[in-house]
């Protein structure tokens, strides 16, 4: 067989194995708007953070910032008595392996997109119930030797990475008044003018920096230090905003921001939180902001993807 014949044969097999219904665009169409996504037990989601991506089965209801889940894979190497082989309804007969001993509480913010939904009987099995009639236990439970599945070992590392993924955005007490930081720096009119001139921006932008409403860039921080003699402390985004940003509905927007600004996801989250916070601080009096709405408005102003 020539190299060309071999390639054609393999490409033929690849065509037969295609899964067009699982591409990003097909999943967008299937699951609709983010507010309708199934954030409930039985849903299979893609979880991702930087260069880690894997499928997880949700087995609990979400808290404000976490969700209990366990990994599922298409690779069943090393499957044993604590794994279940199930047919994923959307995957054209290809079976998924559920690894129930790798149950973890993951940050909600690692959830990227729903992929499929499994039957309640599978969730029952994850807590010790019987295997569903249309599923199969992955293999025997072997005594005396610990199973040394490379798939399991990699999953463990990936889950560790996801659990440590979301940066601890500093939580501020609810309704922390921005004036708390505003009083710390009181530049003269001449200093404000020099800052506007050096940074090439208008007064509102300079005041936001002075008031610590957003993180200054490196140049801005240098200018503040040179002209005012201090870099104002930045007020951390309030807890409600941070919690709202954990919701998977913002993942696409964060990743789009990360892509456009060439940032890691963690940095993009901080930038987005600070951006929405600064916007809200300019526009809100003493009212409690609707952070979902504020984030949406900020994302739209930045021209970022929303779903």
């Amino acid at each position: 067989m020539t190299a060309s014949d071999r390639l054609q044969e393999l490409l033929g097999l690849a065509h037969e194995a295609s899964q067009p219904q699982m591409t990003g665009s097909a999943l967008r169409e299937r699951f609709g708007l983010p507010d309708h996504w199934p954030l409930r037990p039985g849903a299979v989601w893609r979880a991702r953070w930087d260069d880690v991506a894997l499928l997880v089965l949700l087995v609990g209801t979400p808290t404000a910032t976490t969700i209990t889940a366990m990994p599922v894979t298409f690779d069943d190497s090393g499957a044993d008595g604590d794994t279940l082989l199930v047919t994923a309804p959307a995957c054209r007969g290809v079976r998924l392996t559920v690894w129930r001993t790798l149950r973890r509480d993951l940050p909600l913010a690692v959830l990227d997109r729903p992929v499929d939904e499994l039957a309640p009987a599978v969730i029952a099995w994850t807590t010790g119930g019987p295997a569903p009639h249309d599923a199969q236990i992955g293999g025997p439970t072997l005594p005396s030797v610990a199973p040394r599945s490379p798939v399991r070992a990699d999953l463990r590392d990936d889950l560790d990475a996801l659990m440590a993924a979301v940066p601890a955005l500093k939580l501020a007490p609810p309704r922390l008044a921005t004036s708390a930081t505003r009083e710390r720096v009181s530049p003269s009119d001449e200093q404000l003018a020099r800052l506007m001139d050096r940074l090439g921006v208008g007064l509102p932008v300079v005041l936001d920096l002075i008031d610590g409403k957003r993180q200054p860039t490196q140049d801005e921080a240098a200018a503040l230090l040179d002209i005012v003699g201090v870099t104002p402390e930045v007020a951390p985004p309030p807890a409600e905003l941070v919690i709202e940003m954990y919701h998977p509905r913002w993942k696409v927007t964060v990743l789009d921001l990360a892509h456009r600004r060439d940032l890691k996801e963690a940095a993009a989250r901080v930038a987005m939180a600070n951006g929405a916070f600064a916007l809200a601080a300019r526009q809100t009096g003493e009212q409690t902001p609707d952070w979902r709405e504020r984030l949406a408005r900020w994302a739209d102003a930045e021209g970022l993807m929303r779903s």
Binding site: S18, Q21, M22, A53, L54, D75, S144
Partner: protein
């Protein structure tokens, strides 16, 4: 084109088409070329060449294209993820092959030199429950479906069994035919029923844990050759405690010997040595520790033998 570039193209393919295409095939072939170098037990007699690697890559593709496609399409969202996932799949395929090689040898040994050879081992006839399984003459033939532990314990309880040294670089040790015959009989007696060959293979593999090892996947050819030479012609081994040292050392596979000097090292050093992630490195070390624990003599020479084995392994 580099593996990273291929991964970037492969990522675009899977997301646009919902399937693997030319760049994915090229990526898998490139990764197979890199990864086979780490699997000494799989190396063909004439060495790795383009045809041998492409044959293996094609076999991988035919066997796993359905599952790999589903995984790539659902999680292959960046070039880095595609590259990492593809490499893991290729590596896991090779680990399966490497594990299958010694297990296959144990299976052939049992089928050809034991079960079909000696009259006390009988096969359950067609039409009876458990047809095709094997049992011991004078014992029940009803299929055994219980725990493996008592069978493994019975295999260990057979007295006078001596493990055989690695006979050449790629033939893991079992024991003499006479000892293996006694072990198989003891296992059947403990089972009080019939066993599949695969069940018997599993028990024998547990009895001779050094005989079926995947860690040969993690060292290069040079290390493999060096480590198999250490102590080969040392006359000191014939004397006294040297025999115990030799017995333990001989039962360790070359790659296990290569890992022994790292038993007390931090995990991150082992990760660098093996080019694997944290959990895989941890498990590899844990396995060698457990294996040594089982192989070292259970008497007052244990510490001395252990120190000597570690020293020998460090000589390479």
């Amino acid at each position: 084109m580099s593996v990273d570039d291929l991964a970037a193209r492969a990522c675009e393919e899977v997301q646009a088409l919902g399937r693997l295409d030319e760049a994915c095939v090229e990526l898998l072939f490139a990764l197979m070329w890199e990864e086979t170098r780490r699997f000494t037990v799989l190396r063909p007699a004439s060495g790795w060449d383009r045809d041998a690697v492409e044959d293996l890559a094609s076999e991988f593709f035919v066997q796993r294209v359905d599952k790999l496609t589903a995984e790539m399409v659902t999680i292959g969202v960046t070039a880095q993820v595609v590259g990492k996932v593809a490499r893991r799949w290729v590596r896991n395929f090779l680990i399966d092959r490497a594990r299958g090689t010694p297990l296959g040898r144990i299976r052939r040994k049992l089928e050809e030199d034991m079960l079909g050879q000696y009259p006390e081992f009988l096969q359950v006839p067609v039409g009876e429950e458990g047809a095709g399984r094997w049992y011991l003459a004078g014992q029940p033939s009803y299929p055994y479906g219980g725990d493996f532990t008592p069978l493994i314990d019975a295999a260990y309880a057979v007295p006078g069994v001596k493990a055989i040294r690695w006979s050449g670089p790629r033939h893991p040790p079992l024991t003499s035919d006479a000892s293996l015959r006694a072990i198989v009989a003891a296992v059947f007696i403990a089972a009080r029923g019939s066993l599949e060959v695969a069940q018997l293979v599993h028990v024998v593999a547990q009895r001779f844990p050094a005989a079926a090892e995947p860690e040969d996947t993690t060292i290069g050819d040079d290390t493999f050759e060096r480590v198999t030479q250490v102590g080969k012609d040392d006359p000191g081994f014939a004397l006294g405690i040297g025999e115990s040292i030799r017995e333990v050392y001989d039962q360790l596979s070359p790659s296990q010997r290569a890992l022994v000097p790292y038993l007390e090292c931090e995990n991150k050093i082992v990760m660098e040595v093996l080019h694997v992630g944290r959990s895989r490195a941890y498990e590899a070390l844990k396995h060698v520790r457990d294996l040594l624990d089982r192989l070292l003599p259970d008497d007052d020479t244990r510490d001395v033998v252990c120190a000597a084995v570690v020293a020998m392994c460090g000589e390479m």
